[in-house]
């Protein structure tokens, strides 16, 4: 009986699902229209700006110019190395963590730290890493007394010409991102069932992870991995802070050329932007090929069971590699922001003072809060409307996460200039939304998919309209993932560097632009203040979201 009912309702559900996408009354039509309009303005409009870029970027002459520049080839190698290696390593690390720890108490500990790691903006993290790892950094200061050093050793650490430090920073930051994605996949039933079966067949966690779960996770990680690779290809703020300078990576080079008054440099930048897209496609193709090979090899396991081991050393190494640098970086940012003067080789500041905090400009801080809040307030309704009434074909919405940020931002800038809409807060908010909206969609989509539609169905049978069912039943039930998505959206907006600079015309200062411009020298204490502020904002958003959802959860046990 129960089975029959379930079958019936699931059939109705599919019927309902297919009906859902074609709106049938005027309210539904309106909501459908709003969702499409919002998405087109935010994500469709910039694509128009890509057209002139394509025009210039494809000219053979520009490619020759690009090729003739002595920086291009070494920069290409550095970029491929840092983006490629960091993607592979981040994947390995994130999966290893899952296979080693899930679900254990240590896993819970990692999970609790995850929001901090995720929320920490790339720029602030890179600045903290430099304070930690540079030849005059804290680690060297720690060992300096043993060697009686009075000056920093002649070492090459951060901003090394091989982009190793940049790669390391990317690996650490992207591992947490992948871990976050994996966390949402782990709650799915198939995974638990399969691991139970595999373990009962005598497979250890590690072997089961890599042989059985990994290929399946890989399939679902395809888009996030592409986003990670794209980020590595086009990151400018992090590369400026901790990356090589002679030559820099391609993205930095493109950014320098874009802002060069010499028109021939600008033409090179257009081609370079296209090259970044080309590299992305190439990476995607290679990744797919690797996936095919891997899944073919793993399709026929030997059946050999590895010895059951607990890997204590690996566990300790991985979990500390992933969390220690963050805490140290944060600690050093705080310490430097309180330092009066602090010369090498002192381990703690010569004197403490609040001068840097008194001197600090707080206007960027409030501007950042304003921009990020506006972004969330606009993106949240749009996200919900889109998930409910928009198209089911969502892949193109993630375009801005996949296209390297540089060409995309340049396209936004073109459009803003044509519409006479640059250099003000509204324009910057619009440009941020191109990243905030997809990330919020990405965060919510999973929970939305897993939502049991029968609740809505029941509500409808009890005379609620579709809209009412969403307002009173569905969205309140999804309040936890919705709050999490808001925090993510906020954090994404805070971290934006290129669009703020381009579309804001340099007039709009956020903690991010302030921190990056101070990182090229300037007073370290002031730099640390801005970096602390930059790190603080998203963290506050996550704390707020978590405590709100805990508070709500206390009164509503059934919330997801």
């Amino acid at each position: 009986m129960v089975a029959a009912l379930r079958q019936l309702s699931s059939r109705m559900l599919t019927a309902n699902n297919s009906a859902k996408r074609t709106p049938h009354n005027s309210l539904d039509w309106m909501l459908w229209g709003v969702a499409w309009l919002g998405v087109l303005v935010i994500l469709g409009l910039p694509l128009l700006g890509l057209i002139p870029a394509l025009n210039d970027g494809l000219s053979a002459n520009n490619w020759l110019l690009l090729w003739a520049d002595s920086q291009t080839l070494p920069a290409l190698k550095l970029t491929l190395f840092s983006a490629g290696i960091s993607t592979i390593w981040a994947l390995w690390l994130a999966c290893s963590l899952v296979f080693l720890f899930y679900p254990s108490r240590a896993w819970q500990r990692l999970q609790r730290q995850l929001p901090v790691f995720l929320a920490l903006p790339h720029a602030a993290f890179a600045i903290g890493l430099v304070l930690l790892l540079a030849p005059s950094g804290w680690l060297v200061r720690l060992i300096a007394p043993f060697f009686a050093w009075t000056a920093p050793p002649n070492w090459i650490t951060t901003q090394d010409p091989y982009a190793l430090s940049l790669t390391l920073a990317l690996v650490l930051k992207e591992t947490w991102f992948l871990l976050w994605i994996l966390t949402s996949l782990l709650n799915q039933e198939w995974l638990l069932k399969q691991s139970l079966v595999a373990q009962s067949l005598g497979y250890g966690r590690w072997q089961m992870g890599w042989q059985i779960l990994f290929p399946q996770l890989l399939k679902r990680l395809a888009w996030p991995l592409l986003a990670v690779f794209a980020y590595g290809l086009s990151v400018v703020d992090m590369a400026l802070i901790i990356g090589p300078s002679t030559p820099p990576t391609l993205a930095v080079l493109a950014w320098q050329w874009f802002t060069d008054p010499d028109p021939s440099q600008q033409l090179k930048a257009q081609s370079l932007a296209l090259l970044l897209i080309g590299l992305l496609l190439m990476g995607a193709a290679l990744g797919y090929l690797a996936y095919l090979v891997l899944s073919k090899r793993l399709a026929t396991p030997t059946g050999h069971r590895h010895k059951l081991r607990t890997y204590p050393v690996l566990k300790l190494a991985l979990s500390s590699l992933l969390s220690l640098p963050v805490w140290l970086a944060l600690f050093l940012l705080l310490l430097w922001s309180l330092a009066g003067s602090w010369f090498f080789p002192q381990i703690i500041p010569d004197d403490f003072s609040l001068n840097a905090w008194h001197r600090a400009a707080f206007e960027p801080f409030s501007t950042t809060i304003f921009i990020a809040s506006c972004c969330v307030f606009i993106a949240l309704p749009l996200t919900l409307l889109w998930l409910e009434w928009g198209s089911k074909q969502q892949a193109w919405l993630y375009l801005s996460l996949i296209i390297p940020a540089l060409p995309f931002t340049a396209a936004q800038y073109q459009v803003a200039l044509l519409l006479n809409f640059d250099g003000n807060l509204a324009a910057v908010i619009w440009s941020h939304l191109a990243w905030v909206l997809p990330y919020m969609l990405l965060t919510l989509a999973g929970a939305y998919r897993n939502f049991d539609e029968r609740f809505v169905l029941t509500a409808k049978t009890l005379t609620y309209s579709h809209w009412q069912a969403c307002i009173y039943i569905k969205w309140p039930m999804l309040i936890r993932p919705i709050l999490a998505a808001c925090a993510v959206g906020f954090a994404v907006s805070v971290a934006q560097y290129l669009p703020t600079l381009f579309i804001g015309g340099g007039r709009i200062e956020t903690v991010t632009t302030e921190a990056v411009s101070l990182s090229a020298g300037g007073n370290r204490a002031s730099l640390a203040v801005q970096a602390v502020l930059q790190a603080l904002l998203p963290l506050l958003a996550f704390v707020l979201a978590t405590s709100l959802s805990q508070w709500l959860g206390r009164n509503h046990q059934g919330l997801k």
Binding site: A151, P261, D262, F343, L417, L418, S517, N523, R524
Partner: protein
């Protein structure tokens, strides 16, 4: 008869001059009136905290005195702004541009002037122009005539900084610097060109090492470039071999050099502000034993300016603010080591007596001669060649 004619001519000339002065005064009153309530977006390099707070001070004064709102747009390189103005021109935005006033000199001024992207002439019509010391190169910007398209703001001279507790006697020539670098391998460097200070470093050494320095005041002759610059590249090849990170990397800016000097990672830093070391000591960013020095043959010096783009929205406000920047009070405040320490462009007797600072060990010794900037076209040529040779 002839005498009479002459008299008449003098009379006419005198009366027309008087009329001009009057006209200028009413003109200026009109400009001041139009400026009221305007917002001036002042695009100025934002990497120096002391500079930023000076601009903030000047903005407050402008607000109180002339009811003008001045907002500093903190840029990292004036070239970005030149590009922005170009893009606006190409997009057909001939009014309501995003930049009202820009801090500029050298090749960026030359690019703006060539592209007809500047408003003016206006600079020499400013009331405070009469205070300007025209013996300083205020009408020449890297051998390019300013034509009243930009108003002088301050002067600068390449200055080296070291720490007395580590470097007892500083090198005073290119050859001595190379010798010093050999004795202290890995401790000498310079900001990476095309950063402003890096390029200035190249020009300094080109001037000193060149066999024919006078040719540098003329535009670059591509046929001669290789032979003229060979001594420079030979010198740099030797220097890089013993430089910081073997010359494979370079600090990004002068501020990063100062930071590395404070850390002890470098032994010599450089700046374009003769009073920089003093203000850095004041802030606790450099140890008290830091001192400034120059080369005995002299170091490059120049004047920096402010200009108004052709499509500026607040042209009047920008002129009134530029005029205030040239006032004795603003110039004296700017020259104060505790504030910014940027030397004035005014006649010495126009400045308040109190601001005639006594030179200290931390400022550049007065007996270091000032060398004139090479022609603006050298900047791009040197940067290109440098990137080609050492950029990758």
């Amino acid at each position: 008869m002839q005498f009479n004619y002459l008299n008449l001519a003098t009379l006419v000339l005198a009366s027309s001059l008087g009329f001009n002065v009057q006209a200028a005064e009413t003109n200026w009153a009109k400009i001041e009136q139009a400026a009221q309530g305007q917002t001036v977006y002042f695009n100025a390099w934002g990497g120096g905290e002391n500079i930023n707070s000076y601009i903030e001070w000047a903005a407050e004064q402008a607000k109180q005195r002339y009811a003008i709102t001045v907002k500093q747009v903190k840029i990292t390189d004036a070239a970005e702004v030149v590009k922005r103005i170009q893009t606006e021109q190409q997009a057909g935005r001939t009014t309501d541009g995003s930049v009202d006033l820009i801090w500029v000199n050298g090749e960026n001024f030359s690019a703006l002037k060539r592209g007809k992207l500047l408003y003016g002439p206006w600079a020499e019509q400013l009331p405070n122009w009469s205070n300007v010391d025209t013996n300083k190169p205020v009408r020449q910007d890297f051998s390019e005539s300013t034509d009243g398209l930009e108003a002088p703001w301050g002067t600068a001279q390449l200055t080296f900084i070291a720490d007395r507790s580590k470097v007892a006697s500083a090198p005073d020539s290119a050859a001595a610097l190379l010798e010093f670098a050999k004795q202290n391998p890995g401790r000498v460097s310079y900001p990476k060109p095309p950063s402003f200070h890096g390029t200035t470093f190249l020009k300094q050494f080109l001037l000193e090492l060149s066999t024919d320095p006078s040719a540098l005041t003329k535009p670059v002759d591509p046929a001669q470039f290789a032979t003229m610059t060979k001594p420079l590249w030979d010198y740099l090849d030797q220097l890089h071999a013993v430089a910081w990170q073997q010359g494979k990397s370079f600090p990004a800016s002068d501020s990063e050099m100062h930071q590395k000097l404070a850390d002890g990672e470098l032994l010599i830093s450089l700046t374009f502000n003769p009073n920089e070391a003093a203000s850095l000591i004041e802030k606790g960013s450099l140890p008290k034993t830091a001192y400034s020095f120059g080369f005995k043959q002299g170091t490059i010096g120049n004047v920096h300016f402010v200009a108004i783009p052709f499509n500026a929205k607040a042209k009047e406000g920008a002129q009134v603010f530029a005029n205030f920047l040239l006032s004795p009070e603003a110039q004296a405040h700017k020259a104060d080591v505790k504030v910014w320490g940027d030397p004035s462009v005014l006649l010495a007797d126009k400045l308040p007596a109190a601001s005639q600072e006594a030179a200290t060990a931390s400022t550049l010794p007065a007996d270091i001669p000032t060398l004139a900037e090479p022609h603006a076209s050298w900047v791009e040529a040197l940067e290109k060649e440098w990137l080609q040779r050492y950029g990758s």
